[in-house]
C-alpha cells in the first residue's frame, strides 16, 4: 500500500528532474554561448592573473599588460616573438652616436580609437604624463627616470633625450612605460582606456573576465575577432577543465604542465611551447650566517638535482639555465651544467664549511604550486646531505612581508618574471641582500656600454659571476605553454613581453 503512494511522492521530483534535463539539452543546442567553439567573431582566452586596474601605468601586476598591451595600447616600438625590437607607432628611429638622443618617425596615418590622429605632440604629452603622474608605478618611474626631455620636432617626429646611454631603455619603452595614451583620456584612465590598438576595452566583470571589442577605427589591419574575452581562473585546474569542456578557446599560459597529457589529441588542440622570462630562483638570504659562506651555497646547489626537480615539479617542461638569463636574451650563455648533481661533494663542502654535523634552514615559500612543489623537493634532497629545511607555505602578502620586506628567511623560491631582471642582483637592498661590487660594476658598465658587443660581453660576465659565486640556485626557466583549440592559429611560442599579443592570432575556419 505504501509503495503505490510512494511513487506519487516522487512524481513532482521526477518532473523537476525532467525539466532540468530538458533545460540542459536546450542549452546544448544553443551554441552562441560563451562556451562552444570559437566562431571567427569571438574568442575566449583563459588566463590566471586578473588586472588590478585599467591604467597599466599606475597599477602593478601582470594581468593588465597581458590583456591591454599591444591589443588596446600601442607603443612606439614593440618586441616581436623572437625578442627583437620592431616599429609599431614609429616607422623608424635613430640613435645619436653618444646614445643619448633618440629620434622617432611616426606612422603617418595612425589614429587613436576615437579617430583622432596620433601627432608627435600627443606622443610627447603622453610620455610626459606618464613621467610626471604621481600615481605612476615605481617600476615605470625608475624606467623613465633617465629621460631628461621629450619634444615634437615636427608633426611626425619625436625626439627624446636621455641622461646617459642605456641599453635597457628602448626595451622598457616597448612595455607599459612606453604606451601612447590619448591625452583626451588622461583623466578617465581608471574606467576607460584611451589607446590606439586594434581592440578597445569593452567590459570588466570583476573576478571573472575582461572583454575587448574590435576597434572599428583601427589605423592598421582590422582585428580578426569581433570580441575577445580574457577569462580569469584562480585555480589552474579549473582552467584546464574549462578548456577540456570547451568553455574557453585558449589557455594563455598553462601553469599545470602535468596536465599537458590531456591535450595530446592534435586534431582538437594545438600546444605551443616556448620559453618565458620567468626564472624560478631558489633565493639565498646572504645576510643569514651560514649562507654567507660560499661553500654552503655551493653545497646546496650541488645537493639539488635540478633535472629531476624539473621532471617532478613541472612535468619536465621548462629549461635548465644555471643563471638569471633566459635564452631569448642576447647575452645568454648555457651555464646549466656548472654544478652537476653531486650529493657527495655537497657533504664534503658542508664539512669544510663547518656544518658537517648538520644545519637547519628556514624556507618560507609563497602559496604557488611551483614554489610549494619545488620546496618539497628541495627539502627532501637537502635532508640527504644533512640540511634540515623547515618549509612554510604562506599567502603572497605574508610572504612579501616576511621575506621581501623583513628579510626573515634562509631559503625561498619564487619565479622572477620581469624581463632583464638580472639587474636586481645589483641592488643590495633587494631581498637576497646580495652585495658583490664586481657584479654591480659590470651591470653599470653594461648599461652604458657604447656598443652592443661590449654590452653583451659585460652582461655575460655578470651572469657568470652569479653562477660561480653561487648567488642563488637557478632551478629552472619557466616554460611558456599555450594551448588553443583547433580553430585558432598563430599563437606566439616564446613569451618575451608581458603582453598576450592578439594581433598574431587568427581562426583557421576562414
Amino acid at each position: 500500500m505504501g509503495r503505490r503512494h510512494g511513487w506519487k511522492l516522487f512524481t513532482p521530483i521526477a518532473a523537476l528532474l525532467a525539466a532540468m534535463a530538458l533545460l540542459t539539452l536546450a542549452g546544448c543546442s544553443n551554441t552562441g554561448d560563451p562556451g562552444g567553439s570559437a566562431s571567427a567573431s569571438s574568442l575566449v582566452v583563459g588566463a590566471s592573473l586578473e588586472p588590478t586596474g585599467l591604467d597599466i601605468t599606475t597599477t602593478d601586476g601582470a594581468g593588465g599588460p597581458q590583456a591591454l598591451l599591444y591589443n588596446v595600447y600601442e607603443t612606439l616600438v614593440k618586441i616581436n616573438g623572437v625578442g627583437n625590437l620592431v616599429g609599431l607607432l614609429a616607422t623608424d628611429w635613430t640613435v645619436s652616436p653618444d646614445g643619448t638622443t633618440y629620434t622617432f618617425s611616426l606612422q603617418p596615418h595612425a589614429t587613436f580609437a576615437n579617430g583622432d590622429p596620433i601627432t608627435a605632440q600627443a606622443v610627447v604629452d603622453s610620455l610626459n604624463h606618464i613621467r610626471t603622474n604621481p600615481s605612476t608605478t615605481a617600476t615605470i618611474k625608475a624606467q623613465l627616470a633617465i629621460v631628461t626631455d621629450a619634444v615634437a620636432t615636427s608633426r611626425s617626429t619625436v625626439q627624446v633625450t636621455l641622461r646617459h646611454r642605456s641599453h635597457f631603455w628602448l626595451y622598457n619603452m616597448a612595455g607599459p612605460a612606453g604606451i601612447v595614451i590619448d591625452p583626451k583620456g588622461f583623466s578617465t584612465l581608471g574606467t576607460a582606456t584611451a589607446g590606439s590598438g586594434p581592440y578597445v576595452f569593452k567590459a570588466w566583470n570583476k573576478g571573472d573576465s575582461v572583454t575587448l571589442a574590435r576597434n572599428t577605427n583601427y589605423w592598421g589591419n582590422e582585428a580578426h575577432f569581433g570580441s575577445v574575452t580574457f577569462k580569469y581562473f584562480a585555480d589552474p585546474n579549473a582552467m584546464t577543465t574549462a578548456m577540456k569542456a570547451g568553455d574557453i578557446n585558449i589557455i594563455s599560459d598553462l601553469t599545470t604542465p602535468s596536465a599537458l597529457g590531456q591535450f595530446s589529441d592534435t586534431s582538437k588542440y594545438t600546444v605551443v611551447k616556448g620559453t618565458s622570462n620567468g626564472e624560478v630562483v631558489m633565493g639565498f638570504n646572504h645576510d643569514s650566517a651560514p649562507l654567507k659562506k660560499l661553500k654552503v651555497r655551493q653545497a646546496i646547489i650541488y645537493a639539488v638535482d635540478r633535472k629531476a626537480l624539473l621532471d617532478s615539479v613541472w612535468g619536465g617542461q621548462g629549461t635548465l639555465i644555471g643563471s638569471m638569463v633566459p635564452p631569448t636574451d642576447p647575452y645568454y650563455e648555457n651555464l646549466a651544467g656548472y654544478y652537476p648533481y653531486d650529493p657527495a661533494k655537497a657533504k664534503e663542502l658542508l664539512k669544510e664549511a663547518g656544518y658537517g654535523k648538520g644545519l637547519t634552514l628556514s624556507m618560507p615559500v609563497p602559496n604557488l604550486s611551483y614554489a610549494t612543489a619545488s620546496a618539497q623537493f628541495v627539502a627532501a634532497q637537502l635532508k640527504q646531505v644533512g640540511i634540515t629545511v623547515k618549509v612554510q607555505q604562506q599567502d603572497f602578502s605574508t610572504w612579501i612581508s616576511q621575506v621581501f620586506q623583513k628579510g626573515d628567511y634562509d631559503l625561498t623560491v619564487v619565479n622572477h618574471v620581469e624581463p632583464k631582471d638580472i639587474v636586481k642582483w645589483a641592488d643590495k637592498n633587494y631581498y637576497w641582500h646580495y652585495d658583490n661590487p664586481e657584479f654591480n660594476l659590470l651591470i653599470a658598465e653594461a648599461d652604458q656600454a657604447p656598443t652592443d658587443a661590449e654590452f653583451i660581453s659585460y652582461m655575460k660576465q655578470a651572469a657568470e659571476i652569479l653562477t660561480t659565486d653561487a648567488a642563488g640556485d637557478f632551478l629552472f626557466l619557466f616554460p611558456h605553454i599555450a594551448i588553443c583549440d583547433s580553430s585558432i592559429s598563430g599563437i606566439t611560442a616564446n613569451e618575451v613581453t608581458s603582453s598576450f599579443d592578439l594581433t598574431t592570432l587568427a581562426s583557421r575556419n576562414n
Binding site: G2, G207, T241, A245, I400, S401
Partner: protein, 320 residues
C-alpha cells in the same frame, strides 16, 4: 503584550549579536600579518614608501578609531572604498553577491529536494533493508568532500558529456537559461553534502511523527501512509526542519566558498580569498560581515516568524 516583548527581545539580541560579530571580525582581520601596502608596493616596497602609504590609507590610526569609523560607515550604509583599487566596496560586492546568493539559494532548494524523499523513505522503512540503504546513502553523501563531488561532476557532465559548462557564471538578467546551466553542477555538489546532512534530520523528524499517537490514530481510522505523512507529517516536521535549515545557512556559505573555487565562479568566496591575499581588509571585512549578518538576520527572522505565528513554540530551541 508578551509576544511583542519577545519579538523585541529577539531583535535586540540580533542587534547585539551583529555588534559583537562586527567587533570580532574587525579584530581578527586586523591581527593578520602584513597589510595592503605589501600588495600595493609589492617587490618595490621601501620603508619610507610604506609608512607614507599607510598614513595615506589611514592605516596608522589606532585600532578602535578605525573600528568606530568602520562601524559608523556600516550603519550609514557606507562600506568604504577598496584600499587597492579605490573602488567603492559596495560596487565590488554587489555583482558577486548575486552569484553567491544564486548558488546558496539553489543549493538549499536542491538540498531539500534531495533530503525530503530520502529522509522520509529512510524513516518509513527504518526497520527494513531499504531504509537502511537510504540511511547509508545519506551517510555516504555526508562523508564525500563537496569539492570531490564537484570535480567528479565536472569530469562527467562537462568534460566527457559536454552537456554543461565546467565553470563560470552568467547573470540571470542577461540570459536566464545560461544562468541556470552554469548553476546546475555547483549547486548539485553543494546539495549532495548538505542534503545528506539534512536527510538525517528529516529521518529523525519523521520517525518522531510516525510514532506519535495522533498519527497512529490517523492510520487506524483509514488514512493511508503516504497521504497521511504528506498532509500531516510534513507540516509537523517542518517546524524543526526550517530551524535546521536556518542553522545550516552558515555551513552552506562556507561550502559555497569552496565550490566557487572548484567552478571558477566570480562570487563572494573568490572575492574573499582574492582580497585577503592582497590584504584589502576593507573589502574582506565587508564580505565576511555581509555573510554573517545574512545568517544572523535569517535566523532571527525564522525565530520571529515562529513567535508571531505560534507563541507555544517559543521554547523550540530546546527541541534540537
Amino acid at each position: 503584550m508578551a509576544i511583542t516583548r519577545q519579538i523585541l527581545g529577539r531583535l535586540t539580541t540580533l542587534v547585539a549579536s551583529l555588534l559583537v560579530a562586527s567587533a570580532g571580525i574587525f579584530v581578527a582581520l586586523n591581527a593578520l600579518p602584513g597589510d595592503a601596502t605589501a600588495a600595493i608596493l609589492g617587490t618595490n616596497a621601501d620603508p619610507a614608501a610604506i609608512s607614507q602609504l599607510r598614513a595615506h590609507l589611514g592605516l596608522d590610526r589606532p585600532l578602535w578609531v578605525r573600528y568606530l569609523s568602520w562601524l559608523h560607515g556600516l550603519v550609514t550604509g557606507n562600506l568604504g572604498t577598496s584600499l587597492l583599487s579605490g573602488d567603492p566596496v559596495a560596487s565590488l560586492i554587489w555583482p558577486r553577491f548575486g552569484v553567491t546568493l544564486s548558488l546558496v539559494t539553489l543549493g538549499m532548494v536542491l538540498s531539500v529536494v534531495v533530503a525530503m524523499p530520502l529522509g522520509m523513505y529512510a524513516a518509513v522503512h527504518r526497520r527494513r533493508a531499504r531504509g537502511f540503504i537510504a540511511a547509508t546513502l545519506s551517510q555516504l553523501g555526508m562523508a564525500v568532500p563537496a569539492f570531490v563531488a564537484g570535480i567528479v561532476l565536472v569530469l562527467v557532465f562537462a568534460v566527457y558529456l559536454r552537456w554543461l559548462p565546467a565553470g563560470g557564471y552568467t547573470d540571470l538578467q542577461r540570459d536566464p537559461l545560461e544562468w541556470f546551466r552554469h548553476l546546475i553542477l555547483p549547486s548539485v555538489s553543494l546539495a549532495l553534502v548538505n542534503g545528506s546532512l539534512l536527510a538525517r534530520y528529516v529521518r529523525a523528524a519523521f520517525v518522531e511523527v510516525l510514532t506519535e499517537d495522533w498519527f497512529r490514530t490517523a492510520r487506524a481510522i483509514g488514512w493511508r501512509l503516504w497521504p497521511a505523512l504528506w498532509r500531516h507529517g510534513v507540516r509537523n516536521a517542518a517546524t524543526s526542519l526550517i530551524t535546521v535549515l536556518g542553522l545550516q545557512l552558515a555551513t552552506v556559505f562556507v561550502g559555497a566558498v569552496v565550490i566557487e573555487q572548484v567552478f571558477a565562479m566570480p562570487g563572494l568566496g573568490s572575492l574573499l580569498l582574492d582580497e585577503v591575499g592582497k590584504r584589502d581588509l576593507v573589502v574582506v571585512q565587508a564580505v565576511v560581515m555581509l555573510m554573517v549578518a545574512l545568517v544572523l538576520i535569517v535566523n532571527a527572522l525564522v525565530d520571529v516568524g515562529y513567535l508571531a505565528l505560534d507563541p507555544r513554540l517559543r521554547g523550540r530551541r530546546e527541541m534540537r
